[in-house]
């Protein structure tokens, strides 16, 4: 009986530990998104009219494209979800590759329902291959 109880306690502890670890990472990712992206692109990635594009177009959210935009910024005319935007997003060189990975994982999870996490390695590879 004691054995069963202690086993159950361990299982619960492990489950709780993993889930709280995951919750913390999700909280951190959300905080990074809110700090660097959410002011303009909105808490739900909805964008703001024609001023700021939504973050719901998969074509712009591939790590190879999005990591470069976060790091180097972007300007000129672009088409997002079939709508034209023209403006300037400033470069954010202070955002580290691990933070970019967390932000992109968050955006893809929350707004595209894409469970696969973006890794730091993928971000570093992307940043080495950004076009001018």
């Amino acid at each position: 009986m004691l054995l069963v109880l202690s086993c159950a306690a361990i299982v619960i502890a492990i489950a709780y530990g993993t889930s709280s670890h995951r919750n913390n990472r999700e909280k951190e990712s959300r905080a990074l998104y809110e700090q660097y992206c959410g002011n303009c692109h909105g808490p739900k990635g909805e964008g703001l009219r024609q001023l700021y594009p939504p973050l719901t177009d998969p074509a712009w959210l591939d790590v190879s494209v999005a990591a470069c935009i976060i790091h180097y910024g972007i300007q000129g005319e672009i088409t997002v979800n079939g709508q034209t935007f023209s403006g300037t997003m400033p470069p954010q060189v202070e955002v580290r590759p691990d933070e970019i990975a967390a932000i992109l994982s968050y955006i893809r999870q929350e707004f595209l329902n894409e469970k696969q996490k973006v890794t730091i390695r993928e971000v570093n590879e992307a940043l080495q291959n950004c076009s001018e």
Partner: protein, 223 residues
């Protein structure tokens, strides 16, 4: 004799009670929070005036002084533009990466809440007139989808804008070390027909903007 009640039903009752009661109270409280009359904010001035040949003290609430700017349609905007109307003012700049987009999104809610109200205007002052020229402000307003008959985006003499911001009780200053190069508070300020301050709201907090949207009809009803 004992009455046996399944624990689960007790729990269900407790949850029902706990969850059922508060929203109703909160709703009633929320309605009570909207006052019949809005306060006068800022620093009043005591002046003496003559009544029936006697000098008596009179209190004048803080008043927004006269001003003259140009809006996104190149129209001259002054206190006369707002004669007989109430308005919501804020201070921003178009390249602001921090709180301004949130303020614009929230002010857009106010704009959309009163589509047919001719006695309510919105007034956004740029604190970066060097960059935010008339065409830049015009493009910003167009992209936001708002028009100058209800929402003025104004620019003008830099010092006049900064000086005026103090009368609106908004801090605005250049800060090269900050993202975007300026710091300023994100307040939305509600001004009455006599240019007195009747409400100050945090323009980055949707709940505060809900309060502003509830307060506007109260001020509109004032004679």
């Amino acid at each position: 004799m004992k009455i046996r009640v399944p624990a689960s039903s007790l729990l269900a009752f407790a949850i029902l009670f706990a969850c059922g009661a508060p929203p109703k109270n909160a709703g009633e409280k929320g309605e009570k929070n909207t006052p019949d009359r809005l306060p006068y904010l800022g620093n009043p001035t005591i002046v003496s005036k003559e009544v029936n040949g006697k000098l008596v003290a009179d209190t004048i609430p803080q008043t927004i002084p006269s001003f003259r700017f140009v809006n996104q349609e190149r129209q001259e905007i002054s206190e006369k533009t707002f004669a007989g109307k109430i308005y919501v003012a804020d201070f921003f700049f178009t390249t602001c990466p921090t709180i301004c987009p949130v303020m614009s999104a929230q002010l857009l809610r106010v704009y959309e809440a009163f589509p047919a109200e001719k006695n309510l205007l919105l007034l956004s002052h740029t604190i970066d007139p060097e960059h935010d020229t008339i065409p830049v402000l015009r493009e910003y307003a167009e992209k936001l989808g708002v028009t100058a008959d209800r929402w003025h985006f104004v620019t003008g003499n830099r010092d006049s804008i900064y000086m005026l911001s103090e009368f609106y009780m908004v801090t605005a200053e250049e800060a090269p070390s900050e993202p975007g190069g300026f710091i300023h508070s994100g307040s939305l300020i509600l001004i009455d027909k006599n240019r007195h301050i009747r409400g100050i709201y945090d323009g980055t907090n949707p709940k505060e903007v809900d309060r502003l949207i509830r307060d506007i009809p109260v001020l509109l009803r004032e004679p």
